[in-house]
Amino acid sequence: MECSRQRRYRRAIVARSFSLATLLLLCTASLSCESLNIPPAPDLRPVLNAFEKPSAVVDGEIMGAVADEIAEAANEIEGSEFFEEILAVIIEVQQELEQNTNENGDLILDGTCNGGANDGGACAAGADADCPDGTCVGLTVPRPNGGVQVNFICDGWDERQFDPDYEADPDPANGTIALIVTLDSGSIGRVVWGTADNCRYLVPIEGENFQASYDGGVAVDLGDPVPLDEDITELLVTFVVDGIIGFDPIGVDESPFRINQSFRVKLADTDGLEILVDIGEQPLEETFNYFFQGTAQGLRAANGTFGCSLEDRECSDESGPLFSW
């Protein structure tokens, strides 16, 4: 009788121990409830609102105070084309993702042809999938959301980079661009942000290559989530930058230009640039937009939209000159 009781007791102990082990496994399993570790995107809405609704009433006195700054910022932005370097990296990531995304919007990683003439061979799942009579299969991420950390080593100032036969090894000494691109159901999220660490690149102007660099933070608003097949160069893109532009177009050893500026460009429209001019005591308290479109210039402010000329130091509308400085 006593022996039987002991046996039952031992069994009960084993059973209880097992249930404890089960609880432990549950805890272990809960560790796999992983979540994405993406830093939050900067909030660009105040800047976008400022672009859409200029709040400053602009007159000759105000323009007199800011005209030179506008001219210098425009020259540095347009001349250095550092925004092109940033957008080129985003476009490259977009193309890479598109190449690995099938017609359903699913990202296929490490694609391998299943069946067909290239059975077992590597493939990309996009429109150019090299799988005749087969299917490109791999680790499938359906309609992905999340983040992409991009690290780009800048091209540097070696002019051989423009030689199609020259294959340069990326050299970290040329600086880097680190960006975070978000994905929203397979599309690129509207905000891309990151930093450029003394990124060096060449700017070709009329057959000559000029040395340029950018060092600082950057945030980009693409307007809307961008499908992988959409042409980013056709989008009106808003930049918020805070850094130092190094650009020396005339061979004079100019000091680097400190820029803390928001502006809008469309890459396909090389003549277009819109700068947000902040004249309030508090950030974005009073703003207006100054735009360049080819040879035309102008401003959009709370008191209207006018054509202006920084060179002639005046603004006008259809009725004639409005104010000068």
Partner: protein, 280 residues
């Protein structure tokens, strides 16, 4: 490939042979039939009694003590053999409480395997299924069974040119089953399975694109699996030694042994249930 399939078929045949042979070779003391002591093990809170064995096409089980059963699913081994890498798996199930009309159980296990994606890439997966179940004997003929299964899946791929990283997904499955013993041989079962929760798939990896390098932290939308369900009427035939479980239902296919769910539209909404096994 043909050789691998041949090997796999041989394994299946051998297992079926052993099972069939068992039906004839097991001594008369073997216990089967639907009796008070011999109850359905799958989708219930019951486990094998001490030193009892179940050998089946889908699952092998052994009763370590009255309250604790160890099992392994055969399909991961067999399919693993086909794909050149067996998938070890083990499940412990404990009937913690079995008094009067109520039985309660917990179970936990693991499944680990590798899928060779290409010559250079292997994707590894590791599953931890944990479940609880209850069974209520309403009367000698009718029982109800309810349970919940939480499955945590971890996977990683490496060796490829494009991806190195990890995948995580968790999901919860609930089930209920009505068991109606029509005779000591035939029991009718009606099973409902439902997936109320599926986490997004988290993929951490990297695309090796040269310059720029691209590191991914992605969530995949698998919401189509959420609320996946199956309604499966079936029968369990239990003779002196042999048992057959048969059922065909509607909607999603809950893959036994892999603890996964195949959406209904993949298999034209056919949800099968099948096993042949002996108990002794």
């Amino acid at each position: 490939m043909l050789r691998r399939i041949g090997t796999a078929l041989l394994l299946v045949t051998l297992l079926a042979g052993v099972t069939s042979a068992g039906m004839g070779l097991v001594p008369n003391s073997a216990r089967a039939y639907h009796t008070y002591n011999v109850r359905l093990l799958d989708t219930t809170a019951y486990s094998l009694h001490r030193r009892r064995v179940r050998i089946g096409l889908m699952k092998l089980s052994y009763g370590i003590i009255d309250q604790l059963q160890v099992s392994t699913y055969t399909m991961p081994w067999i399919l693993g053999a086909i794909f050149e890498d067996v998938a070890p798996n083990l499940e412990l199930k404990s009937t913690l409480y079995n008094r009067k009309r109520l039985a309660l159980s917990v179970s936990a296990g693991f499944l680990e395997g590798t899928i060779k994606q290409s010559d250079k890439t292997k994707a590894r997966y590791f599953l931890i299924p944990v479940s609880v179940a209850s069974s209520v004997r309403i009367n000698p003929a009718v029982s109800t069974h309810f349970g919940a299964l939480f499955t945590a899946v971890n996977g990683d791929a490496n060796g490829g040119e494009d991806i190195e990283g990890a995948v995580v997904i968790d999901f919860l499955q609930l089930w209920g089953m009505l068991e109606w013993r029509l005779s000591r041989v035939v029991a009718f079962t009606f099973t409902v399975r439902w997936v109320p929760y599926v986490s997004d798939v988290v993929v951490n990896g990297s695309l090796d694109t040269g310059n720029p390098t691209v590191d991914l932290a992605l969530e995949a939308d698998v919401s189509e699996l959420q609320n996946a369900f199956a309604v499966i009427p079936g029968f369990v035939f239990s003779w002196d030694r042999a048992n057959i479980r048969l059922g065909v239902g509607y909607s999603s296919f809950f893959v036994e042994g892999f603890f996964l769910v195949v959406p209904g539209d993949v298999l034209t909404n056919i949800s099968p249930e099948f096993d042949v096994f002996i108990r002794f």
